[in-house]
């Protein structure tokens, strides 16, 4: 990778340069910005505003088909959507904040603050995602002596040994120069502290775990490391390992993040080409459904929730040189880590914090969007919430303790990138306000939004349409519209408590490990659903009050009907929330992924069967075949040539089930490595 690869390409300049002189470009930018600001502040009659808004939304609808692949049109689209939204918030601030009684005023300000946050995040998001950068990384040189040495670190706390074995084996199977990389299991569940726990049962369990994992590592060729005390959670675990290793690069893999064989081949070349590169981050690609997808039965029908971050936002951040370390599936330069004393652990999101430290020292990062690991999402709502509360708390800690806006060494756009990444996690405040505020008017009669139906149609509806269309343009391929609202509502109640904890004492939160690989064998209602019953009931009560208010107070019907529409929207989302909290049983422990490889099923009796793999998991596979063929019997094995190995392999299997044209097989290997 040459220096020019890291130099952010100015796509707009590239497009305009042939026709416009370079010195003219800043002037044009300033002129466009001036006109935009003028239009934002331009006072017009309500009817004119209505036509302006309708025209803008119509243009947005027209442009959305063409703007995605065209940078200039994309910029124009976002500028127009931003104009509609900016005019809305100016109108809200200048005309609708009317002080009445104290309770109404307080509720009005609470709502306005939530709206300010939402509009701020919209503008930050639009800026960050203005020019997503999709890179092609340089390949490794042919001369393997130039390849840097690599240490692969797999930190673990309480994960199942079988899960760890899969990850370690895959890490050992990565294609790289012989003797140039080592794999380490960093066991925080078998520390001296845990093995000498005053509770004899816990101490015995820790010693047993340590013995089991040491034997596992010795058997498969990985290195086992542990430490004296469980200090500073994951960051402490990684730093303790750094004292024992000396590779030039460090790969961090979560316990459930199984790397593909080409992980190092595709990422390490960038470090040879760019000496100031500290990070190549790759996506966290999940092969199982998160609890929302699983419980709503939508897994595979729409992009997973994290796809928005790894499939859009990280590309946007990369353009602004602010893509950051996400804790796993990444390669880091050891020299850079040493410069900041290893992985920094002041916050519970040590990954983003380390990246912030290194960015502010001039080190560079790269985001490479090809999925090179497959991982597991938390399977239950409680596990999901544990993970999200940690992220929310950690990123807010970053905002409060590391102050990206004031931090020396960062470029202005990097500051905005980190501000966006951390301030986003304040969404539980806004989401909770948006959920509860309709009741303030419908039930309690508090005047929180001073507008009539015409103003609502001229300002609010176009604003809502503009942000929805802009969201669809920026993230439509990776996140369906309104899915964000659903996920945010699901997290809002529990994350809000976590946020207040950080605001009270930024150093208070402690790292909590996300539970992975949980299996439940029956359907059940999550015990965390209780607060949402209250919200649900309140929504119905509010709608009931709305009907009463419609008849009892004819003069305020405008406000009532608007607020009832809003409450109805909340109610529809709450259905999804409650549905997601009905935990459906899981039929299989190992996630199943689609496949296409041709395979031969060979038995000790009968002729071999030519088939095709339909899907596969760590424990078995489903085959499709011509129903006219007969299935062999006796001792069975499959013959297949995995693309990853490039040579044929045989694997003993047993028949699990059979239907016309399809059959299920269980692997019967002697060990997991086979």
């Amino acid at each position: 990778m040459t220096q020019s690869m890291l130099k952010v390409p100015n796509i707009v300049r590239q497009r305009l340069q042939p026709s416009i002189a370079p010195w003219l470009l800043p002037l044009l930018w300033a002129l466009a910005a001036g006109v935009w600001l003028l239009l934002v502040a331009l006072p017009v009659q309500l009817a004119s505003q209505g036509w302006l808004a309708v025209g803008s939304v119509a243009v947005l609808l027209l442009l959305r088909r063409y703007a995605r692949g065209r940078p200039l049109l994309r910029l124009a689209f976002l500028a127009l959507a931003g104009l509609v939204t900016a005019r809305y918030i100016v109108w809200r601030a200048s005309e609708t904040l009317i002080v009445t009684d104290p309770f109404s005023t307080l509720a009005m300000l609470v709502l306005f603050l939530a709206e300010l946050y939402a509009v701020g995040i919209f503008f930050l998001g639009a800026f960050i995602n203005l020019m997503p950068l999709k890179r092609v990384l340089p390949a490794l040189p042919a001369d393997t002596s130039r390849w840097p040495t690599v240490d692969v670190l797999v930190p673990s706390y309480d994960e199942d040994p079988a899960l760890l074995e899969t990850t370690l084996l895959a890490a050992l199977n990565m294609r790289y120069a012989e003797g140039k990389y080592k794999v380490y299991l960093l066991d925080d569940g078998g520390t001296e502290q845990k093995c000498n726990d005053p509770d004899p049962i816990k101490a015995t369990a820790a010693r047993l775990r340590r013995d089991t994992l040491q034997a596992l590592c010795a058997r498969i060729g990985a290195h086992y490391l542990t430490r004296a005390r469980n200090e500073h959670a994951k960051a402490g675990n990684l730093n303790a390992a750094l004292e024992h290793i000396a590779g030039e690069l460090v790969v961090v893999l979560d316990a459930d993040h199984v790397p593909t064989v080409d992980f190092l081949e595709r990422t390490v070349g960038a470090f040879i080409a760019e000496p100031r590169l500290f990070l190549v981050q790759t996506p966290h690609f999940f092969v199982n459904a998160d609890p929302v997808e699983h419980n709503l039965r939508i897994f595979g029908r729409m992009p997973p929730e994290n796809e928005m971050f790894y499939g859009a936002i990280q590309y946007g951040l990369d353009y602004w040189e602010a893509s950051f370390f996400c804790g796993s599936a990444a390669v880091l330069r050891r020299a850079a880590l040493d410069e900041v004393g290893g992985f920094t652990g002041q916050t519970i999101t040590e990954d983003a914090e380390t990246a912030l430290e290194l960015h502010s020292r001039g080190w560079k990062s790269v985001y490479y969007g090809r999925p090179l690991i497959s991982g597991l999402q938390p399977e239950t709502y409680s596990g999901f919430i544990t993970q999200r509360v940690r992220w929310a708390q950690g990123m807010l800690q970053l905002l409060l303790l590391k102050s990206p806006l004031r931090r020396a060494g960062l470029k202005p756009w990097q500051r905005l990138g980190y501000l966006n990444s951390s301030a986003f996690w304040l969404f539980p405040y806004a989401r909770t306000v948006f959920l509860l505020i309709p009741s303030a008017w419908l039930v309690f009669g508090l005047q929180v939004y001073h507008a009539n139906l015409q103003q609502f149609a001229a300002y609010t509806l176009p604003h809502l349409a503009a942000v929805t269309l802009a969201g669809h343009l920026l993230y439509g391929r990776v996140r369906w519209s309104f899915v964000s609202e659903l996920y945010e509502m699901l997290q809002s109640f529990y994350s809000l408590r976590g946020i207040f904890q950080v605001l009270r004492n930024p150093r208070a939160p402690r790292f909590k490990v996300t539970p992975k690989g949980e299996v439940h064998y029956r359907d059940f209602v999550s015990s965390l659903a209780k607060p949402f019953y209250a919200f649900y009931l309140l929504a119905w009560v509010s709608l009931g009050f709305g009907v009463w208010r419609w008849f009892a107070e004819p003069l305020t019907r405008d406000v009532t009907v608007i607020t009832m529409g809003w409450e109805l929207f909340n109610l529809l989302l709450l259905h999804g929330v409650l549905g997601a909290m009905y935990e459906r049983r899981q039929r299989r422990g190992a996630p199943r992924v689609p496949a296409q490889e041709p395979v031969r099923l060979v038995g000790s009796l009968g002729s071999p069967l030519a088939a095709r793999i339909l899907d596969i998991s760590a424990t078995g596979m489903q085959l499709g075949f011509d129903p006219a063929q007969t299935v062999p019997e006796g001792r069975l094995h499959i013959e297949v040539t995995p693309a990853a190995l490039g040579c044929p392999v045989q694997l003993p299997v047993t028949l699990a089930w059979q239907r016309p044209g399809t059959l299920g097989l269980h692997f019967e290997p002697e060990d997991l490595a086979q």
């Binding site: 796809e307 269309l469 391929r477 059940f524 999804g576 689609p594 496949a595 693309a643 490595a673």
Partner: protein
């Protein structure tokens, strides 16, 4: 291992197929509303169908707690003969005071 997790091409194709399932704003809203209503229906159905069983479980738990409370009180009465119990029953014989397992039982109950 190589079959299930081998090459990144499979994940790339899977990612691309997920992204290809893009739908418009209104369709996304309609689908979410339908899916949410169905799942919420299942949630409430489970709550209602499970209600008699939950009530039975609650009653059983209450009974068990009451029984455990009685056992605890009985245990306390065995260990501390001077303890005055609510129903007026006190003490135990000197023989049971040193009976094996009594202290362990109380320890278990009190913890």
């Amino acid at each position: 291992m190589a079959l299930a997790y081998g090459d990144s091409q499979r994940w790339l194709e899977m990612q691309q197929s997920r992204q290809a399932a893009e739908v418009g704003v209104l369709r996304a809203f309609g689908l979410l509303v339908a899916v949410g209503a169905r799942a919420a229906g299942a949630h409430f159905a489970a709550l209602i169908l499970d209600l008699p069983a939950r009530l039975r479980r609650r009653k059983r738990v209450r009974r068990t707690r009451a029984a455990q409370g009685g056992a605890a009180i009985a245990g306390l009465a065995q260990v501390w003969p001077s303890a005055r119990l609510e129903d007026g029953v006190t003490s135990r014989s000197a023989a049971t005071a040193n009976a094996p397992g009594v202290n362990e039982q109380v320890l278990e109950l009190t913890t």
